[in-house]
């Protein structure tokens, strides 16, 4: 390397880090460092102020025996299974309907998308009343048209998780529709024209053209939906304000449990361990999905 060149490289490096500095400082202090600090905290029994007792992996060992934690994991799992597949299937159907060169596309799209921009707190308050247990609740009023009697959607342990999932599907549907629609519009129309000439059925076109070519989109939505679902909190907090999350704890999800441990009982070390378990689970799921995707996702 010529001296003049290496001097320019050194100067450029200086300049680059000056430009990076504001973002890097914030990201290091509030994203990068905390990821390790959380691990450190998880090795203590601490309230962050006076109490700092080293417990090593004790928090993790306790977590694996903690029935409340295991239940919150199971609840989160139910929530993921109750929202992701149904939400994605519905979104795909709606995107497919919207993709038929219909008139008024923008209006329909807006109707489906609107819930997504609403704040979770405000909309959860609205749904609290939609789910009202008497006949004044909107869901019960609608069901009464079909002769179905009122249910205590939020108070009945049988229905609480369903209520949580239904509201979440409603709120996220539009986001998935927009992404699916973009994916569908990205498939060249010639493929369908060629298939039509060959006399392919609607189902054949879907399974041989749409589904494989849409797989990168499907993969993307699956990943972000699962990651997002594991982090659900606000809905639970607002729909059941005075409980530990749902009747008999049926909707107490992992992040709600983390919140209760940290800001309810000041077990910050234990809460950090919960956070790390959540991270580990999401990480492993992402790896598994990447593996599956490697075999089944077709990029054009």
């Amino acid at each position: 390397m010529k001296p003049s060149h290496s001097r320019k490289y050194a100067r450029d490096t200086m300049a680059a880090y000056l430009y990076l500095a504001p973002a890097l400082i914030i990201l290091i202090v509030f994203h990068f460092f905390p990821a390790f600090y959380a691990l450190y905290l998880s090795l203590f029994d601490t309230n962050l102020f006076g109490r700092w007792n080293w417990v090593g992996l004790g928090n993790y060992a306790q977590l694996l025996r903690d029935q409340d934690f295991l239940r919150s994991l199971a609840n989160t799992g139910k929530y993921v299974l109750g929202t992701v597949p149904v939400g994605m299937a519905l979104a795909l159907v709606i995107a497919g309907l919207l993709n038929q060169r219909i008139r008024g596309l923008a209006t329909y799209r807006t109707a489906f998308f609107l819930p997504y921009v609403t704040p979770v707190v405000a909309i959860s308050i609205v749904w609290t009343w939609i789910y009202k247990e008497d006949s004044a609740g909107m869901l019960n009023a609608v069901l009464s048209w079909f002769g179905i009697g009122p249910q205590a959607w939020l108070l009945d342990p049988k229905w609480a998780m369903f209520a949580l999932c239904l509201m979440s599907i409603w709120r996220h549907l539009g986001y998935n529709v927009v992404i699916f629609l973009a994916g569908l519009q990205n498939i060249p129309a010639e493929y369908y024209e060629a298939a039509e000439i060959d006399g392919a059925s609607g189902w054949a076109m879907f399974s041989k053209i749409t589904w494989p070519l849409l797989s990168p989109t499907t993969y993307f939505i699956t990943i972000i939906s699962i990651i997002g679902s594991f982090q659900v909190f606000t809905q639970v907090y607002v729909l059941w304000p005075n409980a530990l999350g749902g009747p008999l704890g049926t909707t107490r999800v992992v992040v709600k449990y983390l919140y209760d441990m940290a800001w309810g009982s000041y077990q910050f070390g234990y809460a950090s361990a919960i956070g790390y378990m959540l991270f580990a689970i999401i990480f492993v799921l992402t790896l598994i999905q990447r593996n599956v995707a490697g075999r089944h996702v077709h990029y054009q």
């Binding site: 300049a15 959380a38 709606i94 819930p115 921009v117 909309i123 006949s135 409603w170 990168p216 940290a262």
Partner: protein
């Protein structure tokens, strides 16, 4: 497809879409209609779908019951605006370095940044709270703003765009005696305007809607954001659907208005994130 079959098919498509759209909008209708109902149509053992008279006073009542509502709105607007402006600035600066400068450690730093995107924010919740407490920032605007003034996603989105601007332009600008910063400010930023709008929209909405973080780092009334304030209002007035729906409508309205103004940028921004992966 025959013409008759095609018509039948399209009719079915429109029916399904319309039924779906009506179902999606029903909660909004419920919220709006309840927010203007009179007590005698509210506290009956059935749902009154169409209020016989419109009681706007519910809005005034909700507003007056919680003297801090104006403050909550101001706080959320203030925090979301400042956060958005600063995040766009730090993202543009960092994206410029990643896209236009060849420097030592570039790939490594970029990979580490992308790696931090994998970490869910719930993992860093407790340590960040500890850091904010250690800094003495609990119950300050700083706690609500500073941690969100940089975003890997924002940097990434802007870098993608900056990379499409040919480096020859920088060579030409240099000959004209243009400094790096001036070049970024005068040439690149105006070109990247659509990215600024989209990225800014997402950040603003994220700031307005955020709940868990402001819930844990603020205690006093005058620092509460609208979401935290609304959640408190809900716990206090849990038996007053009229007031709750009026307050919810007010909290949702600014976002719905923003969405209608910038609908295309918003939808294209989301569609693009899906296609890129």
């Amino acid at each position: 497809m025959s013409k008759a079959r095609k018509t039948a098919h399209m009719t079915l498509v429109y029916i399904l879409l319309t039924v779906g759209a009506v179902m999606m909008l029903m909660p909004f209708y419920y919220m709006l209609s309840t927010s203007v109902k009179a007590p005698e149509e509210l506290y009956v053992n059935r749902l009154v779908w169409f209020p016989s008279k419109i009681v706007w006073k519910n809005y005034a009542d909700a507003w007056n019951e919680e003297p801090y509502f104006p403050r909550y709105f101001f706080n959320s607007a203030f925090i979301a605006t400042i956060t958005t402006a600063l995040q766009l600035l730090t993202s543009a600066l960092a994206a410029y370095a990643f896209s236009n400068i060849d420097f030592w450690g570039k790939e490594t730093v970029f990979m580490i940044l992308l790696g931090t995107m994998m970490i869910p924010s719930q993992v860093t919740l407790v340590p960040n709270y500890a850091i904010i407490a250690r800094l003495g920032w609990i119950d300050t605007y700083k706690a609500l703003i500073v941690p969100f003034t940089a975003s890997v996603f924002g940097i990434f989105m802007m870098r993608q765009f900056f990379q499409t601007i040919p480096l020859e332009m920088w060579d030409a600008a240099q000959i004209d005696g243009c400094s790096r910063f001036r070049y970024l400010w005068v040439v690149m930023v105006p070109l990247a305007r659509p990215i600024f709008v989209t990225s800014g929209l997402f950040t603003f909405i994220g700031g307005w809607n955020s709940f868990l973080w402001p819930l844990i780092v603020t205690n006093s009334d005058h620092l509460r954001t609208i979401q935290v304030g609304l959640s408190r209002f809900n716990q206090e007035f849990g038996t007053r659907p009229d007031l709750l729906m009026a307050a919810s409508t007010l909290a949702i309205a600014p976002l719905v208005a923003l969405f209608f103004v910038a609908q295309n940028q918003f939808i294209q921004g989301i569609a693009r994130t899906g296609l890129k992966s």
